[in-house]
Amino acid sequence: MAMHPLYQINNLKYRYGQHFELDVPDLTIEQGSSIGFAGSNGSGKSTLLRLLAFIDLPEEGDIRFDGALVAKNNGGSKRDVTMLLQEPYLLKRSVFENVAFGLKVRNDRKDIKSRVYGAMELVGMFPGEFARRRWHELSGGEAQRIALASRLILRPKVLILDEPTASVDQQSARLIKEAIIECRSRFGMSLIIASHDRVWLNSATDMVKRMHEGRIVGTGAENVLSGPWNDEGNGLYAKRLADGQTLFVTKPPQVTAAGVVNPSDIVISVFEPDGISTRNILHGIVTHMTMERDSGDILIEVDAGGLSLLSRLTPSAVQGLQLVPGKEVWALFKASAVDWY
């Protein structure tokens, strides 16, 4: 399929209050692509997504969707895009009515019952059990999946998901991923997803862009390390983690600078290493594991004192170390492995 640009963004700016500014000089998203945005809280992911979903309009710069400039009055194209909010809001009505709402506002009532049931099945919700339930009779994960079904039923050109797994259990996270991948392959919809869960994000998208302080700072599954850094002398700077461990870096451009570490530069050990030159030997626990779509390597997520680190290992290395979620490990990388923005 020949790719063509669905979104073209030029010099996009959006401000929140006096401090935060989203600044995206140039971004193109191809039709049918699946793109993820990773970054810490306040990095601008949700703001960018709301602009891409036309919920907010840019203060400066422009967004072109399917070639047309996005403005207040071109409501037609806006219906090609739908967004699932981080905390889904279900209307105060039955599950069936929630899923059917988008079709009804489009006055598209043909085979509505079978379409609603189909959308519910797609997200693993059995219509016989859930269709008549009221909005408040669902768990967080169920509500999230019903909110997703109410978007999928619209078969939009673009489905935008903001932290879809933030407040759901693992089963719901898996079902959400399966549903969106299935819809993408069946209907050719484009996916734009923001998530803290980098392992899930890497498994659900083709490409992940990293955001920091309102800017897109890179592409790929890299680890973002942000300051403030304390000068330890000898060119070393340090940051204390929540559990008392210390993270070392070299030569940050400012004490508040953020940098990235390539997951391939992080080595995993199942024993505490001794007598090696690497400054960062961080004790942690494996929280997630997933296969990277392009490389076939395994991405291991390790939580070390609240810091989430991704390490890229070969399947044979994972097998050799007998890594499983919950296993204690040590993540090792040089202080000089950090590339600064």
């Binding site: 919920i55 709402f101 988008g102 978007r151």
Partner: protein, 229 residues
């Protein structure tokens, strides 16, 4: 104390025997309060929605005026409406003084601020995610407004029930504008005032029981609706 007990027994007899005078007051009350609540909802819900949903210059001042009108004394409303609809008043030719319509107009003035204020509060309290959700699902313009009002429906019903409770229990307007005319504009509250003054506790108590029953139904509905909203 005997006369109170006897009055209570007699009041039950009056209610069970279908006493015409007693039931005339009950039905008159229901007619007037129904008219006034319908009128106040027609006026109050759209105004309340606009006041709660949109931002505009002077909104806080308008809100302050509406909230102040919540405490309108019934006799003050009665006084002003009387001045307007009495023969010498600017609306005297309507001829609605001492009629059910006249009482209903004055009660509408009394309870519309309640509907406006509580509807505005209900709309202001809507979840911040609602608008983004509706836009994301493709709702536009009027669809967003109507769905937003529907989302606040239980709280708007609370406004209606609160206003209805105020209408059926007020006495000042019914007395001043209705004139407490037997078989015509005598309501439960004016009848209680009259019969108590005459020393006929039985009729007063019978009507009091009915009024308390209404209050119980209204309050039970309020509790239920507040739970749902």
């Amino acid at each position: 104390m005997d006369y109170i007990a006897q009055g209570f027994i007699r009041s039950i007899e009056l209610l069970l025997s279908g006493d015409h005078e007693t039931y005339s007051a009950i039905f008159t009350t229901l007619r007037i309060s129904s008219l006034s609540i319908i009128a106040s909802l027609i006026i109050g819900i759209p105004f309340g929605f606009l006041l709660g949903y949109f931002e505009f210059p002077g909104k806080r001042q308008v809100r302050a005026v509406v909230d102040t009108l919540l405490a309108l004394p019934t006799v003050v409303v009665g006084l002003f409406v009387y001045a307007f609809i009495s023969r010498r008043g600017p609306c005297g030719e309507l001829g609605i003084l001492f009629t059910i319509s006249g009482i209903a107009v004055a009660q509408t003035i009394l309870i519309t601020p309640i509907v406006i204020s509580l509807t505005a509060t209900a709309v202001e309290s809507l979840d911040r995610r609602l608008r983004a959700t509706l836009v994301a699902l493709g709702a536009r313009g009027r669809q967003i407004l109507i769905t937003s009002l529907m989302e606040a429906r239980y709280a708007v019903l609370v406004a209606a029930v609160t206003a209805y409770g105020r209408a059926i229990s007020e006495v000042g307007i019914s007395m001043m504008i209705g004139g407490n005319i037997k078989w015509h504009t005598r309501t439960i509250t004016t009848a209680i005032a009259l019969e108590t003054g005459k020393g006929d506790f039985a009729v007063g108590m019978a009507l009091g029981i009915v009024l308390l029953t209404f209050a119980l139904v209204v309050n039970s509905s309020l509790t239920l609706l507040k739970k749902r909203s």
